[in-house]
Amino acid sequence: MSAWAATPNDNNRSNLQKFFHNVEGYGRLGYSIGGTAPMGMPAEIRKLNKFILQPNVSFGADLIKPASQHWGVLAGIHFENKAMHIDATVKNYHMQITQGGQTLEGRFTGKNDSHAVQWTFTIPVQAVYKFNDKWKLKFGPYFSYVTSCNFDGFAYDGYLRVDDPTGAKVLLGNTDEERGNYDFRDDVRKVQWGMGVGVDYFFARRFGIFADLNWGLSGFFKSSFKTLDQTLYPIYGTLGIAYRFK
C-alpha cells in the first residue's frame, strides 16, 4: 500500500508508544472507613454509641505517567462504596421525620441511628511524588458520580419537641411503630468532588500496600436540601493492596 498513508499512522503509534513506554499501571483493592459528617461536630451531638463497619470495598485501576525523575501524574477509575452506620446520642437536635412528602419537624433529644450508602465511580487526578521504587506520595482532586445511594435512619428512645423547644413534647420509643423514621435518599448529590491524599508502599516489585484519604468538598446532599442544619461531607480513608502491572 502507499507508504505515505502508512507513515502518519506509524508516527502516531510511535508517539503513543513514546507516551506510554514509561506509563505504569496499577490495580487496587481497598477497604474504606469513614463517615459522612459535618465539619466540626455540632454541640448537639453528644455521644457516639455505635460505629458499625460497612462493606466499603473499593477497586480500581490507575495509570501514572512520570514527568521527571520524581514527579508524575496519576489518573484512574475506581468503583467504591462509601457507607456508614452510626448510632449517636443527641440533645435538642434539629431534625425532620419524613415519609412520602409528610414531615414532622422539631428538636429531638435521644438516640439517632443513621445509615448512609453511596456507590460511586470515582476518577482521581493526582500529582505523584516518587521517593524511590518503594515509596510514593499522591495528592490531587477526585470526581465522583454516585450510581446508587441511600441516607436513612430513625430517631428513637427519646422525645421530639414539635417545631421548637417550647412545642408539644412527643415521646419516641424503640419499636418500628414508635420510632421516627426518615429517608433522604432523593436529596443526595449525584456528582461530588473532593481532595485526595495518599501513600503507596511497594514491598515487592509488583505488590504493595496503600493508604488514601479522600475528603469530600462538595456536600453530601444537594444544596437545596435544608433539613439538616449542618452540611455533611463524605470523609473516608482507604487501606488496601496494590498490584503493579509493569
Binding site: I33, G34, G35, A37, G40, M41, P42, A43, E44, I45, R46, K47, L48, F51, K91, N92, I97, T98, Q99, G100, G101, Q102, T103, L104, R107, W135, Y159, R161, V162, D164, P165, T166, G167, A168, K169, V170, L171, L172, G173, D176, E177, E178, R179, G180, N181, V199, Y201, F203, I209, A211, L213, I235, G237, L239
Partner: protein
Amino acid sequence: MKLKLNKIVVLVAITALSTLMSSCFKEEPLNAECDIEKAWVHVSNVDAYFYSPTDSLIEVISTEDKIVFNMRDGADITALAPQFVITDGATITPASGTVHDFSNGPVTYTVTSQDGNWSRKYTVECNRVSHYTTAVWNFDFEHFELDPSNESSYYIWHNTLPDGSLGNDWASGNAGFKLSMKFALPNEYPTSVLEDSYDGHGVQLVTRSTGALGQMSKKPIAAGNMFLGRFNVTKALTKTMEATEFGIPFTQKPLRLSGYYQYSPSTPFIDKNFNEYPDRIDAGDIYSVLYINHDRNGNPVVLYGDNVLSSDLIVAVARVASVNETNGEWVHFDIEYEYRKDIDEELLKERGYNLTIVFSSSIEGATFEGAIGSTLKVDKVRLTCETKE
C-alpha cells in the same frame, strides 16, 4: 526498618481516621426547654383545701399552659404558694414557693430556659369547685375556637357549665393527627365543626387517613373522637392508648344520656397494617362511663383507651347498642346508665368519681381499625342526673 516504616504508615492512617471519627465532642449545650413539669400546693391542712390530697399535685402535660388547682368550695385562696418542678436549669418568675393571692384570678408565671433563648408563660388558677345540682346538662357544641396555642390549626370546644360559664372538658385526638398531617385545614381534622347541624352547630367526626407518616408508624387512620377528658399528645406515638385520658371529676349521679346522631360507614375496612377486610362494616360508638378515680391505695386513676370499658373501677355504663348507617337521617338516642355498683354519695360529693362521654366515628379506632371516611355527626346531647329534694 521496612517493617517500621510500614507500621508508621498504618499508624498515621489510623490516627487520621480516628481523629475524623470522633472530631472531638463539644461541651454539652445548655437546656433549651422551659416547661413546668409539675405543680403542687403544700398546705398544712390539706383536707380543708382539697377534696382529695392528690388534687394538690398536678402533672402538667407539655401542651398545657393553664394549670388549674381544683379546690374546696370554701377554701381560702388568698395566700397560697404553688411550687413547681421546671426543666433543669430553667428559671421561673415569680419564684416557685412565693405566696400569691389567687382570689383575684389566675397568676401568670414565666419560665425561661437555661440557655436563655426560650420562654413559656403559664397561668396558675385556684378554682373553687361549684357543686352543681342540675337535672339536665346540655351539650350543644356551640362554643368552639381554633386552638389558640397551635397556630390555629384545629378546633377545640368549650362546654357550657350550669352557671353559664364555659368549661374546657371536651377533648379530641386532633393534636395527635396534627403530628402526621400538619398542613390539614381545620375541617380536614378527624374532629371538626358541623355547620347546619340538627340544631345550630354540631360536631363532625370523620375517620381520616394519617398519610404516609401515619402508615409508617402503623397508625394509618385516626378516628374522629370527642370525649370528656384530656388528650396527652406526648404519648400519641408510643403508649397510644394512654394518650386519651378519659373522664373529668363529676359530683352528680348520671341517669340518662340522650342526643341526636347520623352515621355513614365507609369502605374498605382496614387494620393497622392497611389490610382490607371486605366483610367488615365500620360502626360508630357512643357511650358514657362513670368510674371511681382512685385505686385502693388512694392513687389517682384515669382510664385510657384500653380499659375505659373494662376497668374494675367502672361504676356505670351507658352505651348506644349499635351505631350504624342512618341514611342521612338524624336518629335520636336515649340510653340509661346501667349501674354495676352502688353509688357512694359521700365519695360523689368529694369528687371521687370521674365521668366521660365518648363519641367515635370508628368503634375500633383506638386500635387503628376502621374505614377512612366513616362519619359520625352528633348534636344536642343531654345528660340527665339525679336531683335531691
